[in-house]
Symmetry: D2
Subunit: 342 residues, 4 copies
């Protein structure tokens, strides 16, 4: 790391930093510029947090050189990670499409949607049995009953199940049904939950936090990987910005950025990313053109009856059109859509 001293820092302060670094086994190099002294230090950063150095008298700032994540970094697995989900190979170049309702609302609603999205070409079924809702007065999900409906839908359609787990106490229960455990945007920094899903060894879909930098997102993945679970799919779903015409600002540049920085596959959720059904199809296509490994899209048989996220949900017909359009694009990119049962 690089330690930049304040312009007024004296010999004594420079010496103190140097000694401390050397005591912790760092090799040190001093560079005396006209206006600032800069200290380069090579060693094991875990032995001395940057914040401790930054708090020393005379230190202006400490600049880390290496990424703070290790296991999540592309350098750790240059060839890329393929996550296996019920026979699907996520991250192998094919494009996966997960689709389904925001929330599991009833057996009929879920089965109808599942069959429709399977017919249209989806490989995974999304749907929340537990729902994180901003207001305590909103529908909070069916809970265990919702999980049963998801299991039944899988049996009927062969779709893999992606469903959210909101807290550690429910991890075992949700993991008993889900093929992919979703950690939602609001829980990306729920470190206990990250460790708990890591311990299950099950595939995890880790949504980016509303205001998480790419680095923080990869560090959240690192929590899961550090438990020995490399079955992690990242999911860009929009970040919070000043623009409020869209529900969030879908940061598609995060897709190629993350593919460069990490070996993990990346999905995109254009439904939450935009919050507006008419923007879902263009942004789904854009996501694939940007290199996404998969899409996750909200579909509801009757959006105007949906208990949540109606305005961003597609009807099965619109979803079917979207899949066809994405398929053509995918071919032009020299890739292909994944299929269930491959």
């Amino acid at each position: 790391m690089i330690i930049v001293m304040q312009p007024q820092a004296g010999e004594r302060e420079i010496e103190a930093v140097k000694e401390r670094l050397q005591k912790e086994g760092f090799s040190v190099h001093l560079s005396q510029g006209v206006a600032r002294t800069v200290i380069g230090a090579i060693g094991d950063k875990r032995r001395l947090p940057a914040s401790a150095l930054e708090a020393m008298p005379g230190v202006e700032r400490v600049i880390p050189i290496l990424h703070p994540y290790k296991l999540a970094g592309r350098e750790f697995r240059p060839e890329g990670t393929v996550v296996e989900v019920r026979g699907l190979q996520v991250g192998n170049g094919q494009v996966q499409i997960a689709a389904g309702p925001c929330a599991v609302e009833s057996r009929a609603q879920l089965l109808e949607t599942a069959e429709a999205v399977a017919a249209a070409g989806a490989t995974m079924l999304r749907g929340g049995a537990y729902k994180p809702r901003t207001s305590p007065y909103s529908f909070q999900g069916l809970g265990p009953e919702g999980l049963e409906f998801l299991a039944e839908a899988r049996e009927k359609t062969g779709l893999a199940i992606v469903t959210e787990v909101m807290g550690e106490p429910e991890v075992a229960q949700v993991a008993g049904v889900a093929d992919v455990l979703q950690v939602g945007s609001r829980n990306m920094h729920n470190f206990n939950l990250l460790r708990a899903v890591g311990k299950t060894g099950k595939p995890v879909l880790l949504k980016r936090g509303l205001s998480a930098t790419i680095e923080e997102w990869l560090l959240a993945a690192e929590y899961i990987l550090a438990e020995g679970n490399f079955q992690v799919i990242l999911c860009e779903r929009g970040i919070r910005t000043f623009e409020n015409y869209t529900r969030n600002t879908l940061d598609l540049s995060a897709v190629p950025a993350v593919k460069g920085l990490s070996h993990l596959p990346v999905f995109v959720d254009p439904s939450h990313g935009t919050g507006k059904r008419e923007l879902v199809a263009p942004m789904a296509k854009a996501a694939v053109a940007a290199g996404a490994d998969g899409l996750i899209i909200e579909v509801h048989p009757c959006p105007q009856e949906a208990l949540c996220d109606g305005p961003q949900s597609l009807t099965p017909e619109k979803f079917s059109t979207l899949v066809r359009e994405v398929a053509e694009l995918v071919r032009a990119l020299g890739r292909e859509l994944a299929r269930t049962g491959q």
Copy 2:
């Protein structure tokens, strides 16, 4: 609520919206402008979520008129809430000062800090036994042992204990020691945790999420209040913006804004809000001038040895100066500093 129809919406679509509203018991008024039809609806919004209406054909947008929170709203308790913490009256006009280290690192470190901040005039001791850390490789807190040290510090100094709880499973354990349960910024949208701390009936310090609007923050409080626990103190600690000279952007306007919108007391954390020790004192004073009910400040006997947040921690000496300066300001504002044992 107000439903704005699209310019091209036809009679049939307008009629459908009207009928649906009436079916759910809303009284409806149609207003035909030159460019848009607007429907005003009065009724119980819980019977029909805005999102469902917004998903209807021909609807452009739905504008809610009322705040989505009820119990947290100023109208619910115009006289304001006073939270009682070990004999302290938080929100009664006096200014509380909570201080202590970011993390409990050792018995000696904690006791030394506790005595120093008590001597300087703090009424509460802050310090984390469980620490939410962005990186899995950072110090994660002492856990149960940290709680014991906090209890011992309280016995020795009489300070009330504010400490963070990170997950539902630890709520009972932390509540067994803490006088105030802190819900951290990253957990503001951990709804299970909000319900769990609500159920304890204990005072809760609810930090604003990094990217939470004031409305979302009050809705998070609503989750706690809805469990029958009105002992909630809000805490502004900086929001995430494009500016990165400071760690976060301390949104002091949230203090008078929240005092107007809600009856709950508001603290300010200038340490996390700025991330830089030289900005802590001016922003602490500004917070009090803006009307804050209390401050929460990081103090460490030796910031350069701190396992976290050293750069934003004050030494006990600097903290003592800050308290004296704040005390003068508080008097000029016609208020007073709270004292332990009052």
Copy 3:
């Protein structure tokens, strides 16, 4: 518009708002809910700014119903606008590619780049003779000499010239050479400049401001349109957010959003949008998939010698590959690349 009264507003305050609206020719409807009185008003908003109503005693907020722009709105020209630039039809469904260096640095640099991008398939040449630079110590552009080089490059290649104008005093001079006048991101709110380029009647490329909402961007276009100049191309180039891995956050959802809200064509600048050359190609493809009418891309014969924006500039070779990839994508979308001389 809708006027929401405060809960404590009395008869007298409600009456005052009503009278004022009626005096200005609005027709008024009162709606008395349980918690709030809401006043609907239909009339000419220009006669009474919302801010004046909002300042009246007892008013909580004023909600506009209509978009504040008229000429820029899709409703004004449902069929869409085609901007004619030297025989090119911008906005007719074809995809335009503008390319060239950030700054015109020398005759040789510009001509070499122009020939390379023309050969690769670009239809327009970009390049700044006047450069807005954050630091006064950075290269500020060649000025008039740069314009001459651009004119020469056009003669040699047939490419249309897109170049920035930074202030009113230079409008005539730049308009004497440019085929498209670029108003840069930092000048999107320079209203005098907007009026001045409007008066030229020349095509204008209006970049979105770093922190401009879509609505503000369209209002900036409205300034140009209000001068009778409808030859406006919008250009998304990234907005400022908390994420700083990329130089800006390219908001591709703005493309379909603006295509819905307005009749004006939209370009995307993935070079400034990302600031990183390795992200340019994926985001260029994503932009086209999202429905952009054109791309504007930085190309430099030797990025490491570039006086600005080297890290986000493509070499001519990389640019040529990008055009080929985009062309395939464009075909899969049922569109085609524009060509010079069509």
Copy 4:
């Protein structure tokens, strides 16, 4: 500066960077870590822009060590700058209060306001003759006539005049009347305007751009200073964030931050910073507690008739109360309010 090489960078690429630096007169030091090679370079950065190095093969990023501004930096004038405005000493420790309407609307309105704010204790009169408005349909200011009214108000009250200049062509005209030339938030990056106001030698109030970092703000000041004009007052007026309860987010931490980084005095505008009249007084007090050298506050004799910014304007009575409260606070801070004619 520090050049961090990519992990896969080879000898040849490292050598090329080294040679280029040495060719430009930099002294170079190589540091070979386990994962990265880092090159430290000492020399004149103007000879080699960081972006050019960053574009070289094998370079991951370039980290500047020094601030990019020189004249605006605290190190350049450790003792601080005092700007003289009609006998007032701005930045000498006293607190200045500028007040007046958003826009000059009429002679009567301006004179009434001027007399009221002078009586209440303001030392400067603010008011726009030229108004930057988001919509072309909003009131755009009285222009030259407005300037005449301002001059008359100064004669009658002795208040110094602060008024905005929107474009280079009007600089001479506005400078003929104004005591302080205001560069508005939307023009902070209008570099031509910055140079033009610099050349006048007149005091300039430079508002922070809506999305400008502190560094960019100081670089904008640098443009003025580089013209030899050190009479610059900075003005924090709120930045754009995701929070939209307030019009902007007033970043008060910028006050002590800028006082540390620069020698220039800093004002705060709580009116634009919040957009809500009930937040103006608390934030004005907070600004002074944070160390501001002055306040700039919107006052209108009848906010509900104001042609702009009514909701954030104080009546003369409320303003008078605010001045009294601020005065008490100022005394508690060991400072004093400035007075006209001192």
